[in-house]
């Protein structure tokens, strides 16, 4: 290997080497951290909500006019919707996961507890919600129709029975789980945990306790408004959405049907900023890598053109085409490696700054070595074209007059 003479020659033309080295260093530092952020965002977007998203939709109904009996309409609507072809199940709910709007409560183990044990999303649902949401009941039982309380808007519901998520159960009772235990939600009256569902996210995606959710069997209308959840047969969601909207408008025209929105739409909206961030960072990474690769191609092409006679001389002195190819690849390897060493320091420094400024997690150690390998490969691929051109310089160039 010609490492020493190549390095020694590079030291005599430092500017190009420093510029490309810096470019490689910045690329490594930014790409490693950007990839890490993208990975975090993708992990976040990939979190399961715990509910059936593909075949479920929700909407609100707001009555107007005198004598509109919201509670009676709610119960008759449920019956009407169950008759619509393609409907598997319908339920009432005050909110849905990923919707960014809902009821939050503190949940405590004792009635006089000053600080609640955990914060929880408080889903007020009827007895068919577990089935309609498609929740996976892993312990206990579902609500019975007779357990569903009628609560007037403004009153604080005090359910006798509740279903909680596994995450909340483990938080409240790390040893043994919450099933059969009594907890306190909105007052001094205890609620007994009768069921555990595997997972159900809160409406708020930025919450650190996104899987702490509680379902309570409560019919609650908000004035003349109520919210429904409909589960359809697989593949019939869009068709059923239209049919349900039409049917409800027919049976009771004294109300406004709010926008029907699928759970997939809620997911898309909930993670729109994450998706945008991923796309932006992905574009930045692509642009940086492209600029770095083009920089290497440009520098190497310039050096090949500048050194045509020198390459011819080397060939005349006995270098094979492969020797010339190897020379340029080695030269690029040296420059890239120097840049990468600096880039590794910058990558960890940038990560440290992100940790201190934005409480980001620490950049995992393996990002930088993988970045090394990728940028080495990028450098070698980028220099291949100019190096091949250099290897094709005929040795007879050495004897040509300047």
């Amino acid at each position: 290997m010609e490492l020493r003479p190549i390095l020694s020659a590079l030291m005599r033309s430092k500017v190009s080497m420093i510029l490309i080295g810096l470019q490689v260093a910045l690329t490594l530092a930014i790409v490693c951290n950007a990839l890490f952020i993208i990975g975090q965002r993708l992990d976040r977007m990939d979190r399961p909500s715990g509910v059936n998203e593909s075949d479920t939709f929700t909407f609100s109904s707001s009555g107007f006019g005198e004598g509109f009996d919201a509670r009676a309409v709610m119960k008759s609507d449920l019956e009407v919707m169950r008759q619509v072809p393609g409907v598997v199940s319908v339920a009432t709910t005050n909110s849905v996961p990923m919707s960014d709007g809902g009821w939050g409560e503190g949940i405590s183990l004792k009635p006089d507890q000053k600080t609640s044990t955990a914060g929880t999303a408080f889903y007020l649902v009827n007895d068919s919600a577990v089935q309609t949401f498609g929740l996976n009941l892993i312990g206990g039982r579902d609500f019975k129709p007779e357990e569903v309380q009628d609560v007037t808007f403004g009153d604080r519901p005090q359910p006798e029975v509740i279903i909680v998520t596994q995450a909340l159960s483990e938080k409240m009772f790390p040893e043994g789980g919450a099933l059969g235990k009594q907890v306190y939600l909105t007052g001094d009256k205890p609620s007994t945990v009768i069921g555990i569902v595997e997972r159900m996210q809160q409406p708020w995606m930025s919450s650190d306790e996104v899987e702490y959710s509680t379902l309570a069997p409560v019919y609650m209308t908000y004035g003349n408004s109520s919210r429904y959840l409909v589960r359809t047969e697989p593949g019939r969601r869009d068709e059923v959405m239209k049919a349900v909207e039409q049917k409800l408008a027919e049976v009771n025209p004294s109300r406004i049907i709010g926008k029907l929105k699928s759970m997939q739409d809620f997911r898309a909206d909930a993670y729109a900023s994450d998706r945008a961030m991923t796309i932006i960072l992905g574009t930045v990474i692509f642009a940086l890598l492209a600029i770095t690769a083009l920089g290497i191609v440009g520098m190497a092409s310039f050096w090949v053109a500048q050194r045509t006679r020198q390459i011819g001389t080397r060939r005349a002195l006995g270098a094979t085409k492969f020797d010339i190819l190897r020379y340029f690849h080695t030269e690029n390897f040296i420059i890239t490696s120097l840049g990468l060493v600096l880039g590794a320091i910058l990558a960890y420094a940038f990560s440290l700054w992100m940790m201190q400024t934005y409480q980001s997690p620490k950049l995992p150690w393996y990002y930088v070595p993988i970045g090394f390998l990728c940028l080495w490969a990028l450098g070698q691929i980028a220099v291949l074209g100019p190096a091949v051109r250099a290897s094709r310089v005929p040795p007879a160039i050495a004897t040509r007059s300047v």
């Binding site: 010609e2 003479p5 020694s8 020659a9 590079l10 005599r12 033309s13 006679r309 020198q310 001389t313 080397r314 060939r315 005349a316 002195l317 006995g318 270098a319 094979t320 085409k321 492969f322 020797d323 005929p394 040795p395 007879a396 050495a398 004897t399 007059s401 300047v402």
Partner: protein, 242 residues
């Protein structure tokens, strides 16, 4: 050492054919100092390139130190060039970013010598041209004559059988040219065969034998080598067969 028989070199474009060398025959024996002269465009450089394995030829035969070079692939030609031939160029062709040590080292690395062997050869050859004290200097820090001495050291470091010199004094003033020429004569006296392409009649006269080329053909040659002072009797005669 170098034998070309009825050699042809034709450059072809889609419009024209140019016969750079035609029916070119020459036989340079081991230890000779041959000067190849001729006007610009006569084919001297083409001859040098083909003799130095820098270019391929179109027809005829070429034997270099007993090796038929026809049909050799690029790698084999590079290896043969590296082992058998030392080059001295008119513009010295030193690598400006390498110091003298590394410049002389270039062909030795391609030869695959071990580091210790290379160091010994570099120091010896630079010492032979009187530049052993300037190993760490760069070409730009030397005069033209000194640079050509480095080029000669680089050419000699690999102990080649044949030295090809292309206008070796073309870029030097007369004083430096004389010094370089004396060095070449000394190298030749020590047994290295030299083929020198030159315009300079005075320089050519100092060679043992002259070959004159016009329009790609040998038009004039010395049948017998001219003897130079002290070397009378030391030489075998060269034969030009064209």
């Amino acid at each position: 050492m170098l034998k070309m028989t009825h050699l042809q070199k034709v450059y072809r474009t889609h419009l024209i054919e140019t016969h750079a060398l035609r029916d070119f025959s020459i036989n340079v024996k081991e230890g000779e100092f041959v000067a190849v002269t001729g006007p610009s465009g006569s084919g001297k450089t083409t001859f040098l390139n083909i003799a130095g394995l820098l270019e391929e030829f179109t027809g005829g035969e070429y034997w270099l130190d007993g090796v038929d070079v026809r049909g050799l692939d690029d790698n084999a030609r590079s290896k043969l060039r590296n082992e058998k031939i030392g080059f001295i160029f008119q513009s010295f062709n030193l690598i400006p970013d390498l110091n003298l040590f590394d410049n002389v080292d270039v062909p030795l690395r391609y030869r695959g010598f071990a580091a210790a062997e290379r160091k010994k050869r570099i120091e010896e050859s630079l010492s032979r041209v009187g530049l052993s004290s300037r190993l760490k200097h760069y070409p730009s820090e030397l005069s033209g004559g000194q640079q050509q001495r480095v080029a000669i050291a680089r050419a000699l470091a690999g102990s080649p059988r044949l030295l090809m010199a292309d206008e070796p004094t073309g870029n030097l003033d007369s004083l430096m040219a004389r010094g370089v020429m004396e060095l070449l004569e000394e190298v030749n006296r020590q047994g290295t065969t030299i083929v020198m392409v030159t315009h300079d009649a005075e320089l050519a006269a100092r060679a043992q034998r002259n070959v004159h080329v016009i329009d790609g053909q040998v038009t004039d040659f010395d049948e017998e080598p001219r003897l130079r002072g002290a070397e009378i009797g030391d030489r075998r005669s060269g034969e030009v067969v064209a």
